[in-house]
């Protein structure tokens, strides 16, 4: 502020603020309109920004229902034979102890063994036995990894002699939940005698549409003992929460932490997840940008109308000695205040809308993303100032004498 202006009477400054408040509180429909469009724009932007992280979290969750996104398999040096490659159970302890995977990771160990399957009591319609894959696992953990699987009966393997049979297995054996089956390891493990067959009660029947329909799921320890493969695993499946980039990072960390084990991401899941999430983010951002553009245009129209409407005010102010700068400052600071106010109100409305919509459409609880509040307020204030700047330049051309005489 120049010295001359500083010297100006205090009355001048109070007049400035009086005019400022008067015009803000004045009953101008245009000002209400400008405020309205600012509020709506801010509300839409705030709602989209607040929803976006919630939506992405929810989508990531939905992708999780596809199943395991990280798989641990025996490394190449662990043995040469492809299907029968096994690894040591100790990997589970190292996994639990390591910092490589975040909270909420579901871990399911799996052991595949070819077994001879028959029904108890023997059914004369059926062959003596049929070869089937038995899977030793922690079924509750597996179930957590694959929420899409459908289970008839109980998924709860209460005892060591309970099993879950695949739908195709059950159909072949004409078996229902509650029936019993016998499993015997098909081959004697190297250096050991063939173990005694074991009888299992079918607790539930599993439909997946994939290979699992032809398998029998039994408790891991029981199968290890039955097949003479104590402490051995074929595979560990993991369902790691988090966005794709995070999963890639975890895969690398796990690979470094677990030597001798092959750690790989299930690429089809991770990749398409990344693509879909990218699509959604792009949609949200581009729409938010469009909304900002629209609001800017509305404001421009309204502000032009306001300035033109107040031509006479400007003329009087100028006639009383106000410089162009003072007039511009009056208008610009007014619209900045209007913008900030609109941003504040819009944020409140937008957040409320985001909460309701998040709950209704996406079933996520939306917590306020605080950086969006200053962002939205600054954005609306900047928009309002920018929209006023152009018409205010027109105010310079106002000739007090011409305007006032024209009356």
């Amino acid at each position: 502020m120049s010295k001359r202006e500083g010297k100006r009477s205090r009355g001048g400054r109070t007049l400035f603020w009086r005019l400022w408040f008067r015009s803000l509180s004045g009953k101008r429909p245009q000002a209400a309109l400008a405020l309205g469009s600012l509020v709506v724009g801010a509300a839409l932007a705030a709602a989209l920004l607040n929803l976006s992280s919630g939506i992405q979290r929810k989508m990531t969750e939905e992708f999780r229902s596809y199943g395991a996104n990280v798989v641990l398999a025996p490394g190449r040096e662990a043995g040469e034979s492809g299907a029968a490659r096994l690894m040591d159970e100790a990997v589970l302890d190292r996994l639990a102890a390591g910092a490589g995977h975040p909270r909420g990771t579901a871990v399911a160990p799996l052991l595949h063994v070819v077994t001879r399957l028959s029904k108890v009591p023997a059914d004369p319609r059926l062959p003596e036995f049929e070869n089937a894959i038995a899977v030793g696992t922690d079924f509750a953990a597996l179930r957590a990894i694959y929420p899409g699987w459908r289970i008839g009966g109980s998924a709860n393997l209460a005892g060591n002699a309970d099993c879950v049979a695949g739908a195709h297995v059950a159909r072949r054996l004409h078996a229902r939940a509650g029936d019993t089956i016998r499993l015997a390891a098909d081959e004697a493990p190297a250096g050991g005698a063939a173990r005694a067959p074991q009888v299992f009660r079918i607790a539930g029947i599993l439909s997946t549409g994939a290979a699992e329909d032809d398998q029998v799921f039994v408790p891991l320890a029981t199968l290890q003992q039955m097949a003479g493969l104590a402490g051995r695993l074929s595979l560990v499946e993991l369902n790691v929460p988090g966005p794709p980039a995070e999963i890639e990072r975890i895969v690398r960390a796990l690979g470094a932490e677990l030597p001798g084990v092959e750690v790989r991401a299930v690429r089809s899941v991770v990749e398409s997840e990344g693509k879909v999430l990218g699509t959604i983010r792009a949609l949200l951002v581009s729409l938010a940008a469009l909304i900002v553009g629209i609001v800017a245009l509305c404001l421009m129209a309204t502000m032009t109308a306001i300035v033109l409407d107040r031509k006479r005010d400007i003329a009087v102010m100028k006639a009383l000695g106000a410089t162009d700068r003072v007039v511009a400052r009056l208008f610009l600071s007014e619209s900045a205040a209007l913008g900030a106010l609109g941003g504040l109100a819009g944020f409140a409305a937008g957040f409320a809308a985001a909460r309701v919509l998040g709950q209704r459409l996406f079933e996520v609880a939306i917590s306020p993303v605080w950086w969006t509040l200053p962002t939205v307020c600054l954005m609306t204030a900047a928009l309002a100032v920018a929209a006023t700047a152009l018409p205010v330049r027109a105010a310079r051309a106002v000739e007090p004498a011409a305007v006032l005489k024209g009356e």
Binding site: L44, F63, G82, E130, S207, G293, I294
Partner: protein, 426 residues
Amino acid sequence: MLLRIISRSLIRRRRRKLLSFAAVALGITVATAVATMGLDVGDRVGRELRSFGANIALTPAGDGLSVSAGGVDYRPAGSGTFLAEADLAKLKQIFWRNNIVGFAPRLDLPGRVEGRPAALVGSWFDKEIVVDKSESLRTGLKKLHPTWKVQGSWPEDGEASDCLVGRRLAAALSVAPGGKVIFQPSDGAAQPSATLAVRGVLSTGGEEEDQIFVPLATVQNLANLPGKFRRAEVSALTKPEDDFARSDVTRLSAQEFDRWYCTPYVSSICYQMQQAIPGAEARPVYRVAETEGRILGRVAALMALLGGAALAAAALAVASTMLATVLERRAEIGLYKSLGATNARVASIFLLEAALVGLLGGVAGYFSGSLMARHLAARVFGTAAGFHWIILPAALALALVVTLAGSAWPLARGLKLAPLTVLRHE
């Protein structure tokens, strides 16, 4: 007179009208872009999710248990039942044939390569299937698994000795494209060994990396199973299952059954596939079908949300501009009235003008919105979105309604004022 007033006003107040026009056009642009994207996005995301792999498995009904670990069926070749390769083309003759994106048969043959257990998988890579005289399509693994990456090139379906070796197996055997592998089937095969030329190395991030892929005919010859396959993977675009889809099909009334049959639920597509191919059983792969259903449901909700936001923004833009322009013209209203025009007459001048601007803006907005959707779709999905003519009438109607609604309130206010006050004030 009316027309003269309007045309004069349009010409003389060019800048103002341009602003209203721009506001309408911009608002309709956003609404059109979102609507166009909304019409496409379900399909696009659906196709994106196809990289999960097949969502329907086709197997012989009454087949024995498969002994499969790591994605390969270890039963000896020849045991169990099979389906006929020639029947697969019938998949493109079912009611929802256009929703069948791709399919590929599979016939596995366990065996060894250099003493190391490995499985030979016979399938189609990119095969041309003749459906009938007028129609043919290309399908196979390439289409079914868009995320698979091949170093080298895909083998030709006609070249019986070409193969694709999984990345891990190739590393263990240290072979590269251009090399050779000798495969020895374990048992029940017609020949003791087959020499295969490696065309490419396949990396999938899954169990396929331990397998060798060859044309279906190669395995059929080796296993002595001409024209047969064990299992087919089918990828279909489906509608997410709702409560109706989960109801028991056998208990539906005739009318409900028709509705179920004519909706692309995964279960009804499976039903139609079983009808089309004798002796086959089609089952949804639940983890794929359900995940897809959930994601598509969320995307639909998202598009509804964005559409609502776009509509609100469009309405705001148009209404506020109209409001501003009409408020500004109070003096004109006063003048007309003092010259004896009735309220209805004045209103008709203003509304007609607004409608004209609105319609023009609507047309411009439709085209720029479609272009924007095309551009956005290219960036977001990598493919262009088409023009959806169905959106044009909707866009015009929206433009009209919003401009008229935006003009109505200030007009009513302006008409209420006594002409004298307005004119003296000016």
